[in-house]
């Protein structure tokens, strides 16, 4: 009799522990997935912020460097192209092209000392720098969140819970080959300089 009670008790304890583990793992998965989604919306906010900056930037540059119309045209085109994308992959690629166009614009503006001295332009430049950083950092945070989520989703024993409640894989935001943020580190030891500044 005693043995039966002890056996039932033991099984009950084991079942309770398993249930507690299930709850913990499930909650952790939900928390991480929400963090991933929040990370994604953060990137979106920053990309919109950048798109809003561009008309102002373009009109300021136009005032000093009107005959750089080709570069300016490319920026506007890239911005509109990015705004029209429906799919996530298309959006990522279009935003990469916009980054590239902006880098070109900034490189061109280096040739106009009066433009560089313009207070309005300096402020816009600071805003653009900041926005590019925000995009890079929110992308970094997003990818880190995805990484954490995947680690839990795929490792044992939480993968059983993830599979049972169908926690899906989330896409990492990879950089396109031509993206401005893809440049090599600035420091170079010996040899040719690899200094590239965006």
């Amino acid at each position: 009799m005693v043995a039966v009670i002890a056996g039932v008790g033991f099984l009950a304890v084991v079942a309770l522990l398993a249930l507690a583990g299930l709850v913990l793992v499930y909650n952790a998965l939900v928390r991480m997935r929400n963090q991933v989604r929040n990370g994604w919306s953060q990137i979106d906010v920053q990309l919109k912020r950048r798109a809003d900056l561009i008309p102002n930037l373009v009109s300021t540059v136009q005032g000093y460097a009107g005959h750089e119309s080709e570069t300016l045209e490319k920026v506007i085109q890239a911005r509109n192209h990015a705004g029209n994308q429906k799919s996530t992959e298309g959006r990522m690629e279009a935003e990469g092209l916009l980054s590239q166009a902006l880098v070109n614009l900034m490189a061109v503006s280096e040739r106009y000392p009066e433009l560089k001295a313009d207070q309005n332009f300096r402020e816009l430049q600071e805003e653009l720098t900041s926005t590019e950083n925000r995009i890079a950092f929110s992308r970094q945070f997003y990818n880190d969140s995805v990484m954490n989520y995947h680690n839990l989703r795929e490792s044992f024993p939480s993968n059983i819970v993830a599979g049972a409640f169908s926690f899906q894989e989330e896409p990492l935001w990879r950089l396109a080959e031509g993206d401005a943020a893809y440049t090599a580190p600035v420091v170079a030891f010996g040899g040719a300089s690899s200094a590239q500044r965006g």
């Binding site: 900034m106 950083n133 990818n143 420091v187």
Partner: protein
Amino acid sequence: MFEQVRRNRRASQGFVLVLGLLLVLAAGAAVELVLPGSGAILGLPLGAVAFAFYAYRARRHGDAWLRDLAGALPADAVAEKTLSNIVEELMLAFGMSEVPDLYVIEDQGLNAFATEGPRGKSALVVTRGLLKSVSRSELQAAVAHELAHIKHGDTRFLTLACALASAVTLVASLGKHGLRSGVRTEARVAFPGRVRGSGNAGALMYLKLAVLLLVLYGASRLARLLFHGISAEREYLADAGAIIATRDPEALLALLLRVESTPSAYPSGLMPLMLAAPNFDVTHPPLRRRIQILSDLLRLPPSAELQTAYATAYRRNRGRTMRLAPATPPVELAFRSPRTDAGLDDPARKRCGCGLECEVMPGAALRCPHCRASLT
């Protein structure tokens, strides 16, 4: 690394208790010396009350008090646009949601610290020199270091600890003052008076006197020394946290090199909170060591670099398995935020004799982080 951060949090609680004990002991010793025989019944409870009072006050007002001590004034968000931008950018990198208040010290030195007040309201304090004379990416590195302190929970603890340590100093100096003033005669007379009894008891009395004086005179120094063990490691961790957020160790290295060559002085009560101690201070690991770690880090290929830097930083972990931040896959290390240094003087690029190319701000002297030759 994150386990290390958690360990530090536990150590923090212990440290606050040790500071409290020190405060109680100092109060006991002070009272015992001034009014012999009443130290245990009067001094120790008095110390406990003082601890409770100071701990409460430090929690409520310690942050404002420390900012006042530094002479920090609220920053104008419009005028300091770059600073507030950098802070907001880094909030994204750290995944933090509450933006700290910004303060500026009108001082040409290069330093920064963060405080944390009631309900987790944090503040970031930077010197005017930091805003004016370093590049945008270096300012970013400094801010990231301080935000890492906030994220690791160091700031809340250090704000409390700094305020408590000053209470220890206050109680000890009150006791010393009491000894030096009129009450002194009583203490001087009372002790030898009792000592004149039997030999053994007399020796004990002298021992007691020596211990009491040691406690009184050593308490504040001991509190300061204790900071070394508790805060040195946090500096390495905050450096590591800053790099994980910015992925830009070069900027941090450049900043530390600049801080090293810019002498400045701040109230010693603030030192444990500061970004770096330019002159030797027990509360910070030598700047040279932090610089060494960073320049070691930059010479290694990406995948091993953080590993090695941490291994060098956390000597006590040597031999154990190192759990790195899970959020640093190699592909991420290729991520570089575009750094355009808008709105600041453009740094010149100089090539050192050893082949390393560095950024040098106009008018500033910098030593090559690789061979330490001077670049001007």
